[in-house]
Amino acid sequence: MLDVITLEDWQALFLTVKLAFCTAFLLLFLCAPLAWVFVVKQFWGKNLFLSLFNLPFILPPTVLGFYLLIFLGAKGWFGQFVQLLGLSPLPFRFSGLLVGSLVYSFPFAFQPLFFGFLATGLTEYKRAFIFNANPWQAFWAVFFPQALPAFFHAFLFAFAHTLGEFGVVLMIGGNIPGQTQVFSTLLYGEVESLHYAKANLLSLFALGTSFLLLLSITSWFGHFSGLKKQQKEE
């Protein structure tokens, strides 16, 4: 039964995981400082930015993909800029997929970090000042260990969400096997070609791994957040 799985399929699977990992990893570095600024600083237009950040939550991924394609493409503003630097435009390449995923999964990393930081609070961080730790030292010695679960949370959510990406990937990446074909677009192709048995196999696999991933996140976070302990005490 497994002999229907081709090298291309494995490539798509590998590419999906690679994309998810790179996206989640980069988003962590992008969102953590941003979330920190949004928690610590008060400035005009904060809500405006927060709403903007959350747009990918509700926007159809194809809309997002379409605008990214226009923006990043050879005739787009950013595409032209890239070409000026002597580079080729991003769409239909892995880097294009990555940029699309970064935008698409942005709120899934930002929100856990932002609310995680808010829930952690700045009390202990500020208390560290009393003991002559400057803000940088206070962040790493006190706040970071406190807010560590938020970092894991953000990483796993961004990772899991990128795994299931479809609209943006299709729009910006095309469906080029070995280059931009990911799991979801592969499956779509199989269904279009009426290969239902193989589509079923792939879907079952995706369903199983997604469930296992979520299960591990949930049980792990139950442990992390002290949920288990709380329940025990009750």
Partner: protein, 355 residues
């Protein structure tokens, strides 16, 4: 320490000239801004236009603001916060980690931690995280953390509220001793008049007059004003022990010898005596409570009560100590007090001694 706080929506402009070392007791009812004042001293709360000069170092003035991490501070907050992710030992280590001056003075920080753990009775749970601590234990950890790095300014916001009486006594003595050795200044916030009178050398009394008012001064000088406003018929003295006989100590009061029960006193050491009126009799009637007892006694009084009141109260206001001195001179527990023609009032006193 020189402090100026400009006029704001809560208080009038406040100008304070406080000592550079010793213990400044802060007393006042809830909501008068005691904790806010401490936060202002730490720098965690920035007050625009305020001035703060401590031990000849400018902490805040005009456009200059020394951030909290450059000040030499110890702080026990009201809920005795400690770092929740660190064990007891790590909490103490953290207090020493970024403070260069403390490390210079002691060759081995571990020794300091061991000593501090012993002083504050933390040895057996140093390896645990604060969530496993009881309220009193956490409070002692916070206190140890505030003092371990020998800061110059120590802010204690009801730091012993969760301790039993014996432990409170021991800890307040310990804090005073350490403070004297370190030559630092303690701000000690409390609701308890006893604690205030026991700890403070200098008083800072916040009054909710809307706007909030603040009185400051050495404790013996500040006390009469406080007693009058609080409506406590009581006297307070700081004096020295002259002689010990068993558990009694002889102190000079009212130009006479005065024997008080003070089992821990030592000759030549400072002693604090607080004498409060407790029970009143008017004729056959009995009233309890310091000043309220007095006023009830007066109210229940016979025809000439206005005269009774005027006589007693005006003399007391004039600090003539009319109602206490005759009693104390005779060293009696109860003494008949003569008030004008034919009116009698009896009063019993309660003496508290802080060594």
């Amino acid at each position: 320490m020189k402090i100026f706080i400009p006029q704001n929506s809560f208080s009038k402009p406040l100008q304070m000239d406080l000592p550079e070392k010793g213990v400044v007791g802060i007393f006042g009812e809830t909501g008068v801004g005691k904790t806010t004042f401490l936060k202002f001293l730490t720098g965690l709360l920035k007050m625009e236009g305020a001035e703060l000069i401590f031990q000849n170092q400018i902490w805040q003035r005009k456009n200059f603001f020394l951030p909290p991490w450059k000040r030499s501070l110890g702080y026990v907050s009201q809920d005795s916060q400690v770092f929740s992710q660190k064990t007891g030992q790590e909490n103490l280590q953290f207090a020493l980690r970024y403070r260069s001056s403390a490390l210079k003075n002691s060759s081995n920080p571990l020794e300091k931690i061991v000593e501090s753990a012993k002083d504050f009775r933390l040895e057996s749970f140093l390896h645990l995280k604060p969530e496993k601590f009881s309220g009193g234990q956490r409070q002692r950890l916070a206190l140890a953390q505030a003092l371990i790095a020998e800061p110059k300014l120590i802010l204690l916001d009801e730091p012993m509220s969760a301790q039993d009486i014996a432990e409170k006594e021991r800890l307040s003595k310990l804090c005073k001793e350490k403070n004297q050795k370190m030559q630092s200044l303690i701000f000690y916030v409390t609701h308890s008049l006893d604690e205030f009178l026991q700890m403070a050398d200098h008083g800072l009394w916040f009054v909710k007059n809307n706007p909030i008012d603040c009185f400051s001064g050495p404790l013996p000088a500040l006390w009469p004003k406080m007693a009058q406003q609080l409506g406590v018929l009581a006297q307070f003295f700081i004096t020295q022990v002259q002689q010990i006989q068993g558990s009694q100590a002889k102190v000079p009061l009212f130009g006479d010898d005065f024997w008080v029960y003070a089992p821990n006193a030592k000759v030549g050491k400072e002693i604090r005596v607080f004498i409060e009126a407790k029970k009143w009799w008017v004729g056959e009637k009995f009233f309890e409570g310091g000043s309220s007892g007095y006023f009830n006694a007066v109210k229940a009084e016979f025809t000439g009560w206005q005269r009774f009141k005027n006589e007693l109260f005006s003399r007391w206001k004039a600090k003539e100590n009319l109602w206490l001195i005759p009693m104390l001179e005779k060293k009696e527990q109860e003494k008949k007090l003569t008030l004008g023609e034919g009116y009698f009032c009896y009063c019993s006193k309660q003496v508290k001694v802080f060594v």
